[in-house]
């Protein structure tokens, strides 16, 4: 018994991008016309260290199929050390998600500088492919949150 319509799966992907490097890298991908899937939606945050694990769990709860976080390369943080903290937080969070049985491919961190438009686009390609192959996130979605 399935209530899902039998149409092509289009993943919902939330990308948190830091304002200084990765958001600018995404801008560069845009101005260089390097396409990637429209399934990716970007949320601008000042720094990767602004990304609270709550945001990521909330995205999954609300039906996101994958969450990616992008920040400045370690050592290049606009705020000098924000991404170092973000790196530890995300490593532990991802490890925990993996531990409770959420496929580790659904979460990703990538460091993208303002000059790496190509890398941004490439990363999004890969991530969308990965999520598409994993299929819908059924393990974490809170069904009550659907169609709010």
């Amino acid at each position: 018994m399935s209530i899902e319509k039998n149409e092509e799966f289009r993943p919902k992907i939330v990308a948190f991008c830091c304002n200084w490097c990765s958001y600018a890298g995404a801008d560069l991908a845009g101005s260089s016309r390097m396409s990637y899937s429209a399934d990716v939606k970007i949320i601008r945050v000042p720094c990767s260290c602004r990304v609270n694990p709550m945001f990521i769990l909330r995205a999954f709860e609300r039906g996101a199929d994958g969450v990616i976080m992008c920040g400045c390369h370690p050592g290049d943080c606009h705020y000098t050390s924000g991404n170092f903290y973000a790196r530890r937080r995300m490593t532990l969070l991802f490890s925990m998600l993996d531990y409770i049985g959420v496929e580790s491919g659904r979460t990703r961190v990538e460091w993208v500088s303002a000059a790496e438009g190509a890398k941004f686009s490439q990363t999004m390609h890969e991530f969308v492919d990965k999520i598409t192959s994993l299929g819908k996130n059924v393990r974490l979605e809170d069904l009550r949150c659907r169609n709010l």
């Binding site: 958001y23 101005s31 939606k41 949320i43 000042p46």
Partner: protein
Amino acid sequence: MQRIGVFVCHCGTNIAATVDVKKVVEMAQHEPGVVHAEDYAYMCSEAGQELIHKAIKEKKLTGLVVCSCSPRMHETTFRNAAEKAGLNPYMVEIANIREHCSWIHKDIGEATEKAVILMRAAIAKVNLDAPLKPGESKVTKRALVIGGGIAGIQTALDIAEAGYPVDIVEKTPSIGGRMSQLDKTFPTLDCSSCILTPKMGEVNAHPLINIYTYSEVESVAGFVGDFTVEIRKKARSVDMDKCTGCGLCQEKCPSKKSLSEFNRGLSTRSAIYTPFAQAVPNVPVIDREACIKFKTGKCGICSKVCQAGAIDYDQTDEIVTEKYGAIVVATGFDMIKLDKYDEYAYSQSKDVITSLELERIMNAAGPTGGHLERLSDGKDPKEIVFIQCVGSRCADDRGKSYCSKICCMYTAKHAMLIRDKYPDTNVTVFYIDVRTPGKNFDEFYRRAVEDYGVNYIKGQVGKVIPQPNGKLLVQGADLLDSKQILKEADMVVLAAAIEPNPDVRKIATMLTASIDTNNFLTEAHAKLRPVESPTAGIFLSGVCQGPKDIPETVSQAGAAAVKAIGLLAKDKLLTNPCTAHSDELMCNGCSQCANVCPYGAITYEDREVNDHGIRERRRIAVVNDALCQGCGACTVTCPSGAMDLQGFSNRQILAEVDAICR
């Protein structure tokens, strides 16, 4: 509930060709809080801004969403437009439907759907926006210039001329930098010290300029307008006030075997020394590693001969703390080490030298008194080969990926000067490309070829082979003639790549200024803000930002000065209002947020709070708005969520997440 206006920009066809803007406008009408929605060809134009103005007034809007290009492009434009119409500028959110949507998607349906979602997220955020007001911070009207080469000298002079005091911190015993080591300068061939020395004197005499030589920046705290810098004045062992610069100490010093840094190790100097005759200040330093008094305790000749009694063996390093409003980095460059390029036999033959060494040899004050000669046997070279691009334009880790920019021109200069002074000496240049963009540059290079008969061969050299007879066999390629060339030379000059002064990484870290993989400081914008660091209040002068020749360095130095002056001229600065704040009723006072704050902006105070009728003293985190840069590290560290970031609050980001996942 907010009253939100949504404005959808066509950006000509940039957006409208891929996104159905009418559809976006229609969808906007159904969103909570939206009372107005329209589209226009160019929202950023005067007319577009007028639409915003009108709608704010007529519909009494409390928030704006502009669906347009990246906020990095026009967020400020639209915020200013809102402010003009009486709306708080921080009630504006941008949905980036150009760079993040229309430019990267082809399918109209798909792009429109995404644009609508991005718009919804922006609406969700603006719904939770609150008016913000920037704070103010003071400006210390004093500038620091790090580095005393031509870049630092010019910047300091220009700032001082505008009436602001300037300190120069220079690591070596004298200002002057690389330019003081040069013999002649291209493309006019005037003598380097003839044009530099007066400037050094001017800096020295300027009432508003204070020079710290033999000093280094020890630490930097604070932020734009209000930096606190500790400067380490290394022990000179000579009293600056007493020394008359007579030079007797240097003459009598028995330790004379140290290699002269100024002459690139091609000559020796005494343990107490000034690097060169025109040094500013003209006060020697004692090299304690070489000084016999410091090594054995015996000697003290300099002290005995000094009539001014200026020698002070007990001097210690001194830390000076100063406040500055602006900091200019002018740390310059050095040549790369050539130990990975031994196919050119640099370490095997004394007659293989770098271009900077050649400058010293050609210079009248240099190790050979300006006479061009082989360092191995003192003979006049009759055949000289120049090799270009040694370590520049490399894809491997032996060299640098960039073009060092100055080598083509200085090699033409060297070739010309040699041919002029020693007409019976032949000069051959092996080059890959001759790059001469610059006023009168190509003409200069052509003169070397046409008037001076310098032999330019297109092709790199594979190996320099020292011969038993003391000559150097240069094995190179002539790509245009399709020949492998074996040329016997008396001297080989390598145009080694230049690299930023290795100390710059340490300095950049202290300044939190970004730096690229080649150790060049990054500019705030490659084209539009080339002399500013992305870190506010930090400016870039000279080669620390990228390879440059002297005229370019001087003009950039002037530009950096103007930017610094522009900052110093302000009485106060507006600060970013998107700062963190802690909720006193929720704060545990646990100190975790202070641990992660990169700016030391968080302190704690014991404060009486009224928590729903319970009055008690609590330890509460307090954020200094002037110091907080708004990164948000503290907000995630705070377990209770007491710490939140204005403009990027937890609820706002969650609302965006919800809107996207809806």
